[in-house]
């Protein structure tokens, strides 16, 4: 029996897209010109699907820090910190992050995905129950599964639905509730105050994955809990270095006095190589840049508001009413979405094509992520290309219906 037979559905879907004349998985950026520009099919393209929120991937101080670490400490660590040892740079990054996040303890992981695997499996075990938001990222689902805990899914952003489920729970074992700071597909955020209210009535630990909100939300850029003034109520946070920090890696952070033991208990930390010196060094410098330049957050907010308003004003249906750096345009079906995505790319803007089951509620999306490095002109160009390609097509469909 052919083991790959089970993926026939994917091949059929891909063939369907090719029949529409669209190559969705082969897009290659031939040259990266800046945080907001790349050469794609020989053409200079505006990048509006990078999650490069702060736009610091080309920050000269980060590049210099990475270059220096590469020259002085080599290309890789060649093993995990448990087996091969910790570099002083790893510690330095954890200390700097601990200061930035205002949390006593920080553990770094090799990617954000692994941070979720490592944290969730490190915190919960088969005797425990994890309550997770229905729209959680795949890495949260996978971390939950890896933990072996009983998994209860509650309705997206509904503190009332969570409370109902907590009340039904037999109360055996520990309980962990998992939210995200900004949900990656729709760009919406949870009503943290309502969840904290539930926490006052029911005993559980609260974890927030701030992957898309670190650097973005809050007075200090520490994420949703910072913005909501509820950091003391959030027991654990998870984050990634791949978005606002413009690098690769992830972290878990907490004030729990025994938090450090997770290092010696979780396989996604113990049995994988630690981040390379250059990755750590650019991340460390990125933390300092984010700390020193709060104006980047303001630029991001301004750009997000401009794109949000612009897309709404040309009649597009957005998945979130609030302004967010993740702006998702809802399209009626998969073929139209694929065709529009391709037309946008050919017209000079790259956005994310997001389709079920990777999206909530079976929706088809053209997902944009905004950067502080976009200029106003970039945002206006993106809006006008959407007007030409998407609003035009939607109008045609309505007319022919």
């Amino acid at each position: 029996m052919d083991l790959l037979e089970k993926h026939k559905g994917l091949a059929e879907r891909h063939a369907l897209m090719q029949a529409l004349g669209v190559e969705t998985i082969g897009v290659t950026m031939e040259k990266i010109l800046s945080p907001t520009r790349a050469l794609i099919n020989g053409r200079e393209t505006i990048l509006a699907g990078t999650n490069n929120y702060m736009g610091i991937t080309f920050d000269p101080s980060c590049i210099e820090a990475g270059r220096r670490a590469l020259a002085e400490q080599g290309t890789g660590t060649t093993g995990s910190r448990i087996a091969n040892g910790t570099y002083a740079l790893h510690r330095e990054l954890e200390n700097e992050l601990s200061r930035f996040l205002n949390r006593d303890h920080v553990i770094t992981f090799s990617t954000g995905y692994q941070a979720n695997l490592g944290m969730l499996a490190g915190l919960a075990g088969p005797q425990d129950t994890i309550f997770l938001d229905a729209d959680s990222h795949a890495s949260i689902y996978d971390g939950c599964t890896l933990s072996g805990a009983r998994l209860i899914r509650f309705r997206h952003n509904s503190a009332a639905d969570l409370e109902k489920r907590l009340a039904r729970h037999d109360g055996e074992g520990g309980r962990l509730v998992v939210l995200e700071g900004i949900y990656s597909m729709f760009g919406d955020r949870p009503p943290l105050d309502e969840f904290v209210d539930v926490k006052r009535r029911h005993d559980f630990a609260l974890l927030v994955d701030e992957a898309h909100s670190t650097g973005v939300l809050g007075e200090h850029g520490r994420g949703l809990a910072d913005e909501a003034g509820l950091e003391d109520e959030v027991d654990f946070i998870i984050g990634t270095f791949s978005k606002s920090f413009g690098a690769i890696g992830g972290f878990g952070a907490s004030n729990h006095p025994d938090f450090e033991f997770i290092r010696y208990a979780t396989r996604a930390y113990m049995f994988t190589a630690s981040p390379s010196p250059a990755s750590i060094a650019t991340t460390l410098q990125a933390v300092r840049v984010l700390d020193a330049r709060p104006e980047l957050r303001d630029s991001l907010r301004r750009n997000s508001a401009r794109l949000h308003t612009g897309l709404r004003d040309i009649g597009l249906e957005l998945c979130c009413d609030e302004v967010s750096p993740v702006i998702a345009v809802r399209v009626r079906d998969e073929p139209s979405t694929v065709i529009m995505w391709d037309a946008l790319l050919k017209a000079g803007v790259y956005v994310n094509l997001a389709l079920p089951p990777g999206t909530p509620n079976n929706t088809c999306l053209l997902r944009c992520s905004v950067s502080a490095a976009h200029s106003e002109q970039d945002i206006d160009t993106i809006i006008s290309l959407f007007a030409k390609v998407v609003a035009g097509a939607a109008g045609d469909a309505a007319a022919s219906a």
Binding site: A134, C144, R150, L151, I152, H169
Partner: protein
């Protein structure tokens, strides 16, 4: 609420109808994911409807053992009976 297996079967079929795009006949033997050709997200959303209908929680861990409508009927019946007891 009457929650004999036959009632549960009828309820579940009604809740499944929105996913039954091809309008196939739903029987006890129908395999929910394979025969209706729906993805894992849609299944989990459908399970939430069942949870709401009966005021129960069905942990995601248990879904991997539930293929057919009949298995789901028995699973739900078990939970509902234990709740009453």
């Amino acid at each position: 609420m009457s929650a004999e297996p036959d009632d549960i079967f009828r309820d579940i079929c009604a809740l499944l109808q929105p996913l039954n795009k091809e309008g196939i006949e739903l029987t006890r033997e129908t395999r929910i994911s394979a025969d209706l050709n729906v993805d894992s997200m849609a299944i989990m959303d459908f399970i939430m409807e069942v949870e709401d209908r009966y005021d129960i929680d069905i942990p995601l861990n248990d879904l991997s053992d539930i293929y057919s409508i009949d298995q789901l009927v028995h699973y739900v019946h078990g939970l509902v009976s234990r709740k009453k007891a």
